[in-house]
């Protein structure tokens, strides 16, 4: 094997790929940073899964900020169709314009409105495209986007145009795993599961939101929080945002730190279901 018949390779021929290293307000675990960079370099969509409150959506903002790129966010809802992300043809507007003689009706292009994906493809600079909560949509939704995400292009039959990505956007997809995603889709993705933060990480997160906090109260609250999460059979485990609310309630209510352990004051802030409150109360009883 000889590379290109004796022609010396240029010194900097390796693809210049920006490296993401986290941002100041978003502390990404080293593993996560690495995975982001793998996805960027391979040009594959990055699928992020994790419990609510593990900062999936914020990661997209952080990647955009860290790499100095614009963020285009597409929030998926249960009624969202894959087509909405590509373009929408506004027939009604065109008919009205035809009626009242406004604008150039012969120019169909004026009535083609690009969706978020179309916007990302046509952007003059590289962008970060966030497809948020993909599992909210119909079962077929991810499959319908497969081709477009793979080839980074789509066709508009109305204008006989093909929209090709000027720059391959960095695609980030988040999922809460409400539904399983199709295999063909998964094969094309790079995947990362964000672990629930450990106690040390969680204390840092709470500190960001509640800065003036007594050390002892924070320790006890976080400890109690993980104890509650460990109760078997909970229907809905409390997440980060509930912990933050709870800590604020504890501070606001002037609760004696001793009490936190003993009787979990304002338990309703952490647990939203009767069933869970009953379980926690029973577990508390056994602990005493």
């Amino acid at each position: 094997m000889s590379s290109a018949a004796g022609v010396p390779a240029p010194a900097t021929s390796a693809p210049r790929v920006p490296v993401y290293a986290g941002t100041r307000d978003y502390i990404a675990a080293p593993e996560l940073m690495q995975t982001v960079n793998v996805a960027v370099q391979l040009g594959r969509p990055l699928l992020i899964k994790g419990e609510p409150g593990t900062g999936k959506t914020m990661l997209a903002q952080s990647i955009a900020e860290g790499l100095g790129l614009r963020l285009i966010a597409w929030s998926v809802k249960s009624t969202t169709k894959a087509q909405d992300g590509l373009y929408v043809y506004d027939t009604v507007q065109r008919l009205y314009d035809g009626q009242f003689g406004e604008g150039d009706v012969g120019d169909i292009k004026r009535y083609i409105k690009l969706g978020k994906l179309g916007e990302a493809f046509t952007s003059a600079e590289r962008v970060v495209l966030l497809i948020d909560e993909i599992d909210k949509a119909d079962l077929e939704f991810p499959n319908d986007l497969l081709w477009e995400l793979d080839r980074m292009e789509f066709h508009i039959p109305e204008t006989h145009e093909t929209v090709v990505a000027v720059h391959r956007p960095i695609v980030l997809i988040t999922s809460n795993a409400e539904k399983e995603l199709p295999d063909a889709f998964l094969r094309r993705c790079v995947f990362h599961f964000i672990d629930f933060p450990d106690e040390a990480m969680m204390e840092r997160i709470v500190r960001v939101h509640v800065p003036d906090l007594e050390r002892r109260l924070l320790d006890l609250a976080v400890e109690a929080f993980y104890w509650v999460r460990s109760i078997p059979g909970l229907q809905k485990k409390p997440s980060t945002s509930e912990l933050i609310d709870w800590v604020q309630a504890l501070v606001g209510g002037g609760v004696d730190p001793q009490e936190v352990r003993r009787r979990l004051p304002f338990m309703g802030v952490l647990l939203k279901k009767d069933h869970d409150v009953e379980l926690a109360t029973a577990a508390l009883g056994r602990r005493r």
Binding site: S13, V38, V190
Partner: protein, 402 residues
């Protein structure tokens, strides 16, 4: 070692494909994670594994493949070997080989080889700082193993666990959800259960182009928009499930089907009831068959019109008395005046479309425990096995027009 890892992953039940394997090789050839087994651990996981449910199996396979590996330099050697002969990968099926050839068509191998050589060369030189992936962690495994004993130090953050140790911890054991396997396939099969409604229900939210042109023409050219109601699925489903006793081994399978049906938001209506062994005078809304949730079977028959599609789920295996005798019920809370078979026939007669999904595989129906009652029930209901294929066939049966 690499190919062993690939097949170990499969042996542990991680569904890896050649597409993903190729992606891993490309990433390695780009020089990502060459000198650091910890990086290799998470790189390979992010490319090969697509659900946290398989993280635990991945850890086990990783452990089996890389335990005792002193230096990741072997990884570089194997990537190099692969780059020379990507198709020489042993143990692939013909189908996989075909796919690999197809995918390789999109990869510039010469370019990859050159890139890889470049990266390797950089390794042996002094480090350039943090601008490249290799060397970011300040470790160089190529010829410098002595710097960090074991050669598989964790990058950054001062954590001192090695990748193999991380894998050995099996932190993701709790995320295994083998229960969920199959749910999606069931869901897909159920999607065929679809029959579009006529356009006379619901909101008018779709532009009717033909009608718009028609009306506009009649309106002497003044635009008049016409809207119509969009068509929706009109299929209504009644699901009756056998629970307890001989059904216990199939609880997981049934729960997959249940989850899939429940998630199928496209039905116009969906009702569930439970029974034990056979249907008699009462059905139960609760899988524990709690008395307070009992509903008279006659009431259900009266309330639900015949266009509900009936899906019975059960093994149909019971003592013949339970099916054919008065008072044959083994459930202590009830006494049946009529044999169970009469109730089954009544259900079958009432609904236009009905099927029975049997949790026992079809090839065992003739010799399984309960073969006698299975035979009788099959005379009443068209029976299919509860597998993806069986469900697909059953759905087809449910959609047949008379």
């Amino acid at each position: 070692m690499f190919t062993r890892f690939f097949f170990l992953l499969r042996a542990y039940g991680v569904p890896v494909t050649v597409t993903e394997w190729l992606a891993l090789m490309r990433a390695l050839a780009f020089g990502l994670a060459l000198n650091d087994l910890q990086r290799f651990y998470s790189l390979a996981r992010s490319v090969l594994v697509k659900s946290e449910a398989y993280y635990d199996q991945y850890d086990q396979a990783f452990l089996a493949a890389f335990e005792g590996i002193e230096t990741p330099a072997v990884i570089a050697a194997e990537v190099w070997e692969w780059l020379q002969d990507p198709l020489g990968f042993p143990g692939l099926s013909d189908e996989e080989r075909r796919r690999l050839v197809e995918e390789l068509g999109e990869v510039d191998l010469d370019e990859l080889r050159r890139l890889f050589e470049e990266r390797l060369a950089e390794q042996t030189e002094a480090h350039h700082g943090g601008s490249r992936w290799i060397g970011v962690g300040g470790t160089s495994a190529f010829g410098h193993d002595g710097v960090h004993p074991g050669g598989i130090r964790v990058g950054g953050q001062g954590r001192s666990r090695t990748a193999v140790k991380v894998a050995a911890e099996r932190r993701y054991r709790g995320y295994r959800t083998d229960v969920e396997v199959g749910t999606r396939q069931f869901e897909l099969a159920l999607r065929r259960l679809r029959q579009l409604s006529s356009r006379n229900e619901g909101l008018a939210d779709e532009l009717d182009l033909d009608e718009t042109i028609e009306q506009t023409a009649e309106n002497a050219g003044r635009l008049s928009l016409a809207w119509r109601k969009s068509r929706r699925n009109a299929v209504k489903v009644l699901l009756l499930m056998d629970v307890g006793g001989s059904m216990d081994p199939y609880a997981r399978l049934c729960s997959s089907l249940f989850t899939a049906t429940n998630r199928s938001s496209h039905f116009k209506d969906l009702r569930f009831y439970y029974f034990h062994n056979c249907v008699y005078d009462w059905l139960y809304a609760d899988p524990g068959l709690a008395r307070r949730t009992a509903v008279a079977t006659n009431h259900v028959l009266h309330e639900l019109p015949s266009d509900y599609k009936l899906i019975m789920v059960g093994d149909a295996a019971m003592a013949t008395g339970e099916l054919l005798s008065r008072y044959g019920i083994i459930w202590w809370g009830e006494a049946n005046e009529e044999p169970g078979i009469e109730w089954l026939r009544r259900l079958r007669r009432h609904f236009d479309h009905s099927v029975w999904l049997n949790t026992i595989p079809a090839d065992e129906w003739d010799r399984a425990y309960g073969a006698a009652t299975i035979r009788i029930v099959r005379e009443v209901f068209p029976m299919f096995e509860l597998t993806v294929d069986g469900l697909t066939a059953a759905v087809r049966k449910l959609m047949v027009r008379y």
